[in-house]
Symmetry: C2
Subunit: 323 residues, 2 copies
Amino acid sequence: MKHDKVKILDCTIRDGGLVNNWDFSVDFVKQLYKSLSEAGVEYMEIGYKNSPKLLKGADAGPWRFLDEGFLRDVIPQKSATKLSALVDIGRVDENDILPRKESLLDLIRVACYIQDVGKGLELVEKFHKMGYETSLNIMALSHVMENDLNEAFQEIKDSPVDVVYIVDSYGSLHLNDIDYLVSKFQRALPEKELGMHMHNNMQLAFANTIVGLEKGVTFLDASVYGMGRAAGNCNTELLVSYLKNPKYEIRPLLEAIENLMIPLREKVEWGYIIPYTVTGILNEHPRTAMALRNSEDKDRFVEFYDKLTSPESNYATKNHHSD
Amino acid sequence: MKHDKVKILDCTIRDGGLVNNWDFSVDFVKQLYKSLSEAGVEYMEIGYKNSPKLLKGADAGPWRFLDEGFLRDVIPQKSATKLSALVDIGRVDENDILPRKESLLDLIRVACYIQDVGKGLELVEKFHKMGYETSLNIMALSHVMENDLNEAFQEIKDSPVDVVYIVDSYGSLHLNDIDYLVSKFQRALPEKELGMHMHNNMQLAFANTIVGLEKGVTFLDASVYGMGRAAGNCNTELLVSYLKNPKYEIRPLLEAIENLMIPLREKVEWGYIIPYTVTGILNEHPRTAMALRNSEDKDRFVEFYDKLTSPESNYATKNHHSD
């Protein structure tokens, strides 16, 4: 069957947690896991495996600092849907992580910027030795110079990492950029599976994911109703509808949207919101737009655009967060 | 310059009128015309040129039954942005239409289903003789059989029509469908310019438009903030941001969104709304979803999906409206 190697990785809880500070109830996450399982989604990324010791924000919900004991209460019975967690360079304490056979997690994904690929691969190697499936998620690829990427490929080639992700952190990549990047990654890393994590600032997250998928990318990130930081991600329900594989069902996802996401979307926002469109178009981190949306000026789009595009602007700042 | 033959046709008032029953104030339309002019948009579709005598709905706003005298009050001074109007087969009284040199309109577009292409071309010929630029907009192409389309091409070839539009009325076409259809239209109608009018049910309106554009389609429909029936259209602001032509400016569009579209969106809805996604995925007219959204059950997505997919369903009905 066409696309039969494709795996959908739903990152609603992990990337969506960036919207609501991981304030999902246990019941919400249980219901979502059930829906994703029924829908045939292969992976659920249930949070971050960062260490509270290494990161401010201890007020965040438990999905930011996943604990194995807690996880066993949430998911007492695993379905065919595997579990994954994301870690950030410098924020994970490797001693927190059990060997895979003692863990509910199947896949550990390491997010890093291009300059930290070496550190990322060190972590990958440790998790690989502990028995996990691993991925390296290279963030902010729209800001990466070709020569740096080529150097990174050399390191990645020699690593045991299973999947290498193209991450469009700023939601600024177009269809032709994806076509170009996927071809480049495929030529450089023929032995690795590839993944895609897109953001929806320009309403291209789903379309870009299709472009990658049709070129042979096998790990596709998505989130239910698109929930994810700022403009959000590729929508899981759209991806399931596109893949003709009979193992997928959209109905459980519609149920999750109706029961979980619509009420949540009334409290917190993500999606096609103009300041995020602007940062996407300008190929910038969405943090300035997130700050705007948290202010009284949230709908003052023109002033925001003028600030970001003024030659005197020092509004844009450095990278910090994963994805 | 790449894409220098491309024309953006903004149909906010015409297609958006299907959302709010054409209840735009004169001031709203004046401001929008100014913004589109400053943005460098080539055409503004300012409404329908249907006849109130031939159509129920005389309570609709004036943009449904454009009158030349009225139009002169609204646009006393034309900019470089041309004006267009849409007509439906059987709803237009040709005697209502002045010769182009006495009219503010530049382009008249005829919308029809495949079985009415003959009638559509009769109208096109009359408008052509009156001096107008013309287009034939073939709706609901996702429901058209190949042999019917091939017959239509024979008629279109011999017509003076300037532009032939691919219309994705149900928002159900994917990137590969667009690739296929555009190639087919290009082979069959090498002398005609092609246009695209996409709907956003699956968040593909912009992406599909890009696919067409990159293959050589020159007339691109869009609407500001995506306003259009049901899920809406390709967003004018995204299209302007994509085209690198220096004549386009996004700032006036951000202004229009801030001042006009955000307040309007609080009163009426369009965009990524799950029942429209469902009809798009099922390749059906959105009318059942529109009815749902006007009912108390507006967020009962699963029940709606079950009704539409039940083998006993006679929920789906025939085509009626343009686009």
